[in-house]
């Protein structure tokens, strides 16, 4: 979700095989830019790419891990080669082309990207994008959703979101949107995590959610 000079990205924490829940405790903490702990996965997991760029990978558990490892490798190679951090727009196209490389045997993931991109003037502009499983990008000005609860997320987000929200208001909006949507969806929930990216810090919070 886009706010005023900030963006937010949120995800639930459930991993399950069909209706059977396997895990609900995912507190993966990134260590530093290069030596990140390899995360386990959930139906959707949000990963930091740079200090101002996050990606959420909802979909098939095995592909969440595979793709995260792939993106980590490609972003690290990019950072070393270019001697600068990757921009959200560039990263989105990297994700998109990675997915399209597997056009006829796709990874079952619908990524969501959120970050702050640098303007030539030196300022920062909120950036969000989502993709389908073969990499068709949807650039949005307001919000993007993905995963098993996407239809419910659209409904709540449509009702709650408004332009130019301050970080704390954006946090409340995205949290309420996510929690209320996953409570209507049998395959997601079991806790949630929210990251609000502002120009000088990232506010990361885990939310208590219904555990049924």
């Amino acid at each position: 979700m886009v706010g005023k000079d900030c963006v937010a990205i949120a995800s639930d924490l459930r991993l399950g095989t069909q209706a059977l829940g396997i895990s609900s405790n995912f507190q993966r903490v990134p260590v530093s830019h290069f030596s990140r702990v390899c995360p386990s996965l959930t139906i959707c997991q949000v990963f930091p790419i740079t200090d101002r760029l996050y990606v959420g990978l909802p979909g098939l558990g095995t592909d969440v891990t595979t793709l995260y490892e792939r993106f980590r490798y490609r972003v690290n190679m990019y950072t070393i080669k270019e001697e600068r951090e990757i921009h959200p727009e560039t990263f989105t196209h990297m994700v998109s082309s990675t997915l399209y490389e597997h056009r006829f045997g796709p990874y079952f993931i619908e990524p969501v990207v959120a970050g702050l991109s640098k303007l030539p003037t030196g300022g920062l502009k909120p950036f969000i994008a989502a993709m389908d499983l073969i990499g068709c990008i949807n650039f949005a000005k307001d919000f993007v959703v993905a995963g098993t609860a996407s239809s419910k997320l659209y409904g709540v987000a449509e009702g709650l979101w408004e332009p130019d929200l301050e970080p704390e208001d954006l946090f409340e909006t995205i949290s309420q949107t996510l929690l209320n949507a996953v409570d209507r969806d049998a395959f997601s929930g079991w806790g949630a995590v929210v990251h609000v990216i502002t120009k000088d810090r990232v506010i990361s919070r885990t939310l208590k959610a219904r555990m049924d």
Partner: protein, 213 residues
Amino acid sequence: METSFALTGKGYVIVAADTTAARSIVKMKDDQDKIKELGSHLLMAYSGEPGDTIQFAEYVERNIRLYQIRNLYPLRPSAAASWIRRSLAESLRSRNAYTVNLLIGGYDLADHKPTLYWIDYLGTVVEVPFAAHGYGSYFALSLLDRWAIALTRGRPRRHTDILLRYHNPEATLEEGLATLKRCINEVSKRLIVSPDRYKVKVVDKDGVREVEL
């Protein structure tokens, strides 16, 4: 039907798997060991398609051993789980994938922590406090979950009762084995095709060993 459980406690991981080798409706064997000792502090319970399980388990076993011979130190549990996951994930998109589900229990000698990984045939890996595969998982997981529920709702009403009965990451080995017995009893009670014998192995700071229930 095949069932395997694993749970962590204070400084140990218990891994249990049934010992039946069945083909169709016929029980061929009831003393098969389905838990491989991958190293001095690493256990792997495997289940799934009969041919695949042994083939894949031996492939993993030899490669983990090769790493230890080449580098003179073993893979840590997290690294081993990552490598095994990758093998399965690559196999998934091949012409004939391995249909193998795994539970990897290990004791990390570097940070002195017991770790347990749940891995399925798709290459999904997740670190968990307790895990199960097969039909038994439908009964065992909900039983073990009661501890987590007791924690989120504040102190359990009958503290000692729950402490002894359900999963507790701080439990002693005796308490952990008692919890495991509860899982096995629940499966025997409720599952039609329940296995009657299990092999139980423990890994802690002293290494892996088999225990009798």
